[in-house]
Symmetry: C2
Amino acid sequence: MIKKVNHIAIVVADLEESMRFWVDALGLELAHTEHVESQAVDVAFLPVGDSKIELLKPTDNESGVARYLEKRGPGMHHLCFEVEDIVAALARLKAANVQLINEVPVMGSDGRKFAFIHPKSANGVLVELYELKSV
Amino acid sequence: MIKKVNHIAIVVADLEESMRFWVDALGLELAHTEHVESQAVDVAFLPVGDSKIELLKPTDNESGVARYLEKRGPGMHHLCFEVEDIVAALARLKAANVQLINEVPVMGSDGRKFAFIHPKSANGVLVELYELKSV
């Protein structure tokens, strides 16, 4: 059901400054950055093995990511697993009484489907599921 | 320099109870559990893709993991990258003025070398480096 860790998302206050650690010092590669308007974040994608580190920088003061940064400071924000079939995965989670933030998958602009599991049901971890668009 | 994400470590209060989410509901596979005396934790290893989720349950009240759980509750604790050459990686990090918790690699009982980077230098993330024993 779970294929792999798609990404680990880390909230940062300043994307350029954070590159000094993740890219310059640690040696990860910056693949690209993009602005995700729906989440009000700039995202830097750093592939590593069969996964990615995603650095998230809030671009307003009201998004979930902005409030996380304000309240808790920078750090790991969520963990995203890639699944074969997100509808089946959500049904299985719901049957196990897992609290879902999105009971129905959200469709991304790129055809990707995603949903979040509530941290209350996942040992304090905000877990995201992705079903990538089949090619 | 960085090969992949070796594991994402998550602190939990109760290992058996946490399996209900990660294994029963989410569908990850439990490979094995072990007690790590030096860190005073029980660890459950859940392989996924080319990485692993490691669930850490403190077995005393004084370890770093126990204090983390007491202070912040369950959640993501650290992120571990596998490197080719940990001595070279630490030298590069030090040259970039990154604050290291272990300036010299620690030798694990299984021949693995590891070192932690201070969260102050890594956007609030406790980052671990592994150099696995060559076989």
